[in-house]
Symmetry: C2
Subunit: 475 residues, 2 copies
């Protein structure tokens, strides 16, 4: 560990506290958002335009997401003249569709030309085929080829994610050669350098990547130092068809900042940088959390009717499982007819099993998503969760048994609910790990199907064991 | 958009496909992990040591997390001689505690010295006070002061997250001045440069940050260019006490790669870089997903008994809500006694309300976590979810009504379940948005408490409306 940079002596200085009082996240939240919406409501477009000039393009993107469709159209018209192309890359898919409709294909093409190739591909990939063609035809040929190639890679692959613009250097160059090359390139009209540069890739004559030099290491080395002397000790090469989720995991696990992407012949064709990865991580997390809640992604900005349709199918599956549980209860209608207390108590057993199972399931699904479950520890997790379910099963058997005993003044009823609780919570602990692991091995995303399978099992087992034991013991 | 770098002509080249066949994420999964565990089981420590030398330190960290406590101890002893300090920064808290116990405080101190200050603070913050003191005393004074200062900032604050080592330059320097400074600094014994450099901060004489220069922009500029000419158009300054969650959101929203951190007097005291942010994002997502599932974080690697204890409290709350639902059912015992079909069908209404509400809740909790819900769109979301709940309520009322009608040959029973379904799903849509928004405004994390409140409401309303309508209509 090194010393910090020297600091000026500690003089109190109350005038300069920039960045302290303002809201860190949103200029919008400091009231400009409301002011814009108010100005639009008042039909004071001049005032709205003035306010829109004050805020950062990422905040304009946020604002576009939050307002309703009508205001969205108005805002686009106001900023059309000085439209910041990066706004398109920031928008949620549903909102972007609408913004593009208002913007029109000509202005869209003008904006797309200004974007880095990865962002351009992201904007265009959601368009319909004929719209894509129309936009592509409206942009200069050199850019067009790059974007068309990007679109040719599979969705959610490294090929879609990567930036085509990158800095490469022959492996025999020195630091001085490279700096000279970058300076002359930056000065020329035909600037081929990307906006953000984190590292420089060394290539052999066949354009295979043979090393990576971080910019910081270049800046602290003398001009005569060969690049090969200051390459990173390890370089991970990403095949172009790799899924973006795997790329994101690799970046997180290996603490990478950038990585080269190669085609099937091992030639360097692009680079992925960590700022793209942050978006992927958010996306994948959103996918996981939404799927576990039974929601399609991108739900927030959808119209009510689209959301209703999308949620219907999940609720329909749940209706079927609820009916299944009811069929199980129906098998014991004669028993319930004799002891109505059973109908009162039976949801407790099912609900506790469902909740205990969901706890286990959450841990297992998350561990699978982070690739933390391997052959070595999966069986140990299954065993541990079974034990956890059993111990908590016994504890809650005692609690629920006492409640039933005193409520209905029946020791036998307390015994029945206690035994059913133990069985159901053991089953919950077991099913909560085995279901997601089995789904994962079968190639199904465990975040989608696990919870409905689990609650079906805990409901069916809960009702069946509780009512079945009651029929045996109480009657 | 710029042209890509020129590529070598496309010759097929089957020899060079490095990185294509190997597993991208884990060397471990290629079988080395199993081989190490096998060697440990066979007590063949020499073989295990040999294998451990082959794998990347991040994979050793993963392996330490996955094996059981005994193997963990064996592995630490094997790698003690060439222990990679960064392993400590990679470990889960529970596992790190154990590793530190085996490692001992002296070897820990030796490792901590090698870490960047932010990682050192992360490793030490979980130790008990007297252990912290012991480690701090064993490391050189200059490093000690830095780490102790880091530990003085609040947990999860920007101060804990930031790196103290950074490159600063007086605002009047040129590109050439800066490169010369970095080269001579790197050559000197007293190297104060951080391992990874993304940007250079310009400071005024009071050490206030006045600009940020990206390294890429420095490398493409001539030596005579003043740094002030190539500063980033915008620089966000982060107050040291900012919560890490807000810092992560700022980085994501503004696509930042690095940002300066200032003390209360506005003086530059450190920098946060995007690689630290990736860890925070994972951590915050884990927190959200775990809390929604009723689990404490860090659960995967806890011992069974600790997990059981941690989950008990959540299950206990659920027991109370389940009993509340049972009390509601108990109010209608006479009704159930007369129509046993009610006991069979009643879980359907409650379950559909719970699932519909959970869908809504998931969207709302996620939007709150991402700060996407503001004054402008919150009311619109509440309205939309109420509409979605109502429409799906009507659709599932028809389906459930038909099922009940044909199953029990009673139109009246079909009517009762249908009406109850509409009411409960409308309530679910409304409660699913209003509960998390209200909790968030009250300063409670909506991820923790929302779902238990929601299912209590949908259970109570579901049972009460269904059985209450039955008592009115059927009897």
């Amino acid at each position: 560990m090194a010393d910090p940079t020297p600091q000026a002596p500690s003089l109190p200085d109350s005038e300069n506290t920039e960045g302290q009082s303002e809201d860190l996240i949103h200029d919008l939240e400091s009231g400009i958002e409301e002011a814009v919406v108010q100005a639009l409501d008042d039909n004071n477009l001049e005032r709205a335009h003035e306010l829109l000039r004050l805020i950062h393009y990422t905040d304009i993107a946020d604002l576009l997401e939050r307002v309703d469709e009508q205001d969205r159209g108005l805002i686009i018209e106001l900023i059309r003249g000085d439209f910041h192309p990066e706004i398109l890359a920031e928008l949620d898919d549903t909102v972007r569709d609408q913004v593009i409709d208002v913007l029109g294909l000509d202005d869209l093409a003008a904006a797309v030309v200004e974007l880095d190739s990865d962002d351009a591909v992201e904007v265009l990939e959601e368009l319909e085929e004929h719209e894509q063609q129309q936009v592509l035809e409206a942009i200069p040929e050199s850019d067009r080829a790059l974007i068309a190639e990007g679109l040719a890679y599979a969705e959610d692959s490294a090929g879609r994610l990567m930036q085509r613009e990158l800095v490469t250097a022959p492996a025999f160059w020195t630091v001085g050669d490279t700096i000279d090359y970058m300076r002359s390139n930056a000065d020329s009209d035909d600037n081929t350098l990307p906006d953000q540069i984190y590292s420089i890739y060394l290539v052999d004559p066949k354009h295979h990547p043979v090393g990576k030099v971080m910019l910081g290491d270049m800046l602290r080395s003398r001009r005569s130092v060969p690049l090969l002397e200051i390459t990173e000790p390890e370089m991970r090469v990403i095949p172009v068809e790799t899924d973006q989720e795997d790329v994101a995991l690799l970046f997180s696990k290996r603490n990478l900042v950038s990585a080269p992407v190669v085609d099937t012949d091992g030639r360097l064709i692009g680079a992925i940088t960590i700022d793209d990865i942050v978006d992927v991580i958010h996306e994948e997390h959103e996918e996981d959390i939404m799927r576990m809640g039974g929601v399609r992604e991108d739900d927030l900005y959808d119209a009510a009717i689209d959301t209703t349709k999308a949620r219907f199918s999940w609720l329909f599956v749940n209706l079927l499982t609820a009916i299944t549980a009811s069929v199980v209860i129906g098998m014991f209608d004669a028993t319930i007819d004799q002891v109505v207390a059973l109908a009162i108590l039976m949801p407790i057993v099912a609900s506790m099993g469902g909740n205990a199972g969901t706890q286990t399931l959450t841990v297992a699904v998350r561990a699978l998503a982070m690739k933390e479950l391997t052959a070595t520890n999966t069986m140990r997790l299954v065993g541990k969760e079974f034990i956890v379910g059993s111990i908590n099963g016994v504890l809650f058997a005692v609690l629920a048994g006492l409640v039933a005993w005193f409520w209905f003044e029946s020791q036998a009823l307390g015994l029945v609910i206690g035994l059913a609780m133990i069985v159901n919570m053991m089953v919950a602990g077991f099913a909560g790990t085995v279901i997601p692991v089995a789904l994962d091995r079968a190639g199904v995303d465990p975040a989608i199907a696990s919870s409905v399978l689990l609650t079906t099992i805990t409901d069916v087992v809960g009702f069946f064991v509780f009512l079945g034991l009651a029929a045996l013991i109480l009657l």
